[in-house]
Subunit: 323 residues, 2 copies
DNA sequence: TGTAGTCGTTCAAATAATTTGAATGATGAT
DNA sequence: ATCATCATTCAAATTATTTGAACGACTACA
């Protein structure tokens, strides 16, 4: 008999069912087994049975039965407190699942080119979560925003790490199975600090002259696709930094030269902290958004694509001008 | 009849029982209802019935049955991910309840770095269960021992999958809420098979020379934390293997070169099966143990921390020398 | 102290839920 | 086209839970 009970109990891996937790909570709230039975419309022996099942499975006494009315043990009290929290978690999970079933994605991974205005991106995330449905709930989709550089933006999409890429190179059409939509252009200017030697060289700057000075480059964030190097001359010394902001800062300090998005350095140029130098060619980069066309689209991706279709939003992303 | 069904379903407030979640996870892992039934030792119709019960209760389709093998819907996938997390929470609550009752945890999950001596770990488990209380019973805590590689050891602790991490990188201090205690160092040696080309190259080996030969690396077991790559030179060909033993074996076969714990290959070197080569730098990795500091500690974790404080035990873990 | 009311448990019968075994239609590979 | 394997249907078999009745124990009150 004892062996039989032991075997049955040890095979019950997960005794903490929602019903079991609810039962403990109801007994506590009603004040006794008998009162709880009345509340639940059951007979007291049903509660006795269920509590015993749970106690045996946990190998823990949850109620002290020395007095007439059963009293929660410290362990029982712990289960009550923690169990209530679990019930809330379960409700939340069930709610999430239902909402995902209704069209929302569980998560949406967005890879944004580092040249896109970060402020605008966060505005979009804010607006996304500001949405309210009929139940006054925000979208359940967890947004995972990541920043990429150069071909890292494409790679994130192709590798499946991202569901939406904002700021892929529009001239770098790579693969089928992907939808692409033009976003706009970013004009670049070649700039140096006022105290940099090239600041005093006659324009347009000769490539041979540029080559004699260190360039500042942002490290491509791509891990697998071939790294892309832009506007670097063969044999040129390069200072590599991880972010666009650091590239701007390095050039402000005169550590090197290179092209930067005009909109991002306009204020520095007007304030005389940077000097624009003509190189005899206009540098303009064309950007697009891209997403995988296979499968059904969720409501979250739909929402983002709709926002990104707005010319004002596009300009804000490209130029940092408030939308 | 239809009213009857509807009434029954709508009264099922908490369909997310642990068994239901486990069932979804098992079906996903096994790849199909039929395979999962085989794993669980049940008939397929039992699974069909249970999944239907859950789907009806949630009013959500969890599987797409359009093809021969049922495929998780996005909502089903969401339930799988969130449900797994809930199971961990339930385990944690049950463990805490047991600890409040008796002082012993319900279970103790230990993530051990693959470089820790497996024999010593099992000696410790043996010693743990050899304990006897006044009733001559062993500790009731179920030990769950898992092996991790590189940042996977940290991740197991941070994700809640492990209560104790043995062999985290001591130089990789990651987060608060975690207690860390130094364990010791493991010296590495660069070795190749006697018939490997590098065996005859003059020492110390030049990095450029090393780069021309395939390296053998262990795949990081971390899923979420950034993967860690150690001692690989840029552009080097890499053979990736899942375990340390396979790395040793691959290098014994001359499939590649790389660093290995000195203590683990000492016998191979002395027997001439591997040749140690100086590279001009000493490779030493520093390890620690880590556990979450929140909440009250149970007797099982206390016991393990006490054992791991012993210098003899530490040396045995790090070097495979009997404690 | 005695009495009444109410508590939680035991136990076997009744009821409900889950599992099984067999048959079936459908998919996917060859 | 054939075969293997998938998931489902359905009713019987099995298991789990609930019920109703009886009982011992406690608590409050006269």
């Amino acid at each position: 008999m004892n062996d039989y009970i032991s075997t049955t109990v040890s095979e019950r891996d997960h005794p903490l069912t929602p019903e079991a937790i609810r039962l403990i909570a109801t007994i506590d709230e009603a004040g006794s087994f008998a009162a709880a039975a009345r509340v639940l419309g059951k007979v007291p022996s049903a509660l006795s049975y269920s509590v015993r099942q749970l106690e045996d499975a946990l190998d823990v006494l949850l109620f002290d039965r020395a007095s007439r009315t059963a009293v929660l043990t410290p362990a029982g009290r712990e289960l009550l407190v923690e169990g209530r929290r679990l019930l809330l978690e379960m409700d939340a999970v069930a709610s999430r699942v239902k909402r995902v079933a209704s069209g929302w994605e569980g998560q949406l991974a967005i890879a944004a080119n580092a040249l896109m205005c970060p402020h605008t991106l966060l505005d979009l995330v804010d607006a996304f979560y500001a949405q309210r449905d009929t139940a006054r709930l925000p979208p359940p989709t967890r947004i995972r925003l990541r920043q990429e550089v150069l071909s890292g933006t494409w790679e994130a999409l192709l590798s499946g790490a991202a569901d939406l890429a904002i700021g892929v190179d529009a001239d770098d059409t790579r693969v089928s199975g992907v939808q692409v939509e033009a976003l706009g252009d970013i004009p670049f200017v070649f700039v140096v600090a006022p105290h940099h030697p090239l600041a005093r060289v006659a324009e347009p700057l000769d490539p041979a002259m540029i080559r004699m000075h260190r360039a500042v480059a942002i490290a491509d964030s791509a891990m697998k696709l071939s790294p892309v190097s832009r506007n670097l001359l063969p044999g040129q010394d390069v200072l590599t930094v991880p972010t666009l902001d650091m590239k701007i800062d390095a050039q402000l300090r005169g550590l090197g030269c290179g092209f930067l998005p005009e909109a991002r350095v306009r204020a520095h140029i007007e304030a005389g902290r940077l000097v624009a130098k003509a190189t005899g060619e206009d540098k303009v980069a064309r950007f697009a958004i891209a997403w995988r066309s296979a499968g059904q689209r969720g409501r979250a991706l739909d929402w983002w694509l709709q926002q990104l279709a707005s010319p004002r939003t596009r300009r804000a992303l490209l130029e940092g001008v408030p939308a």
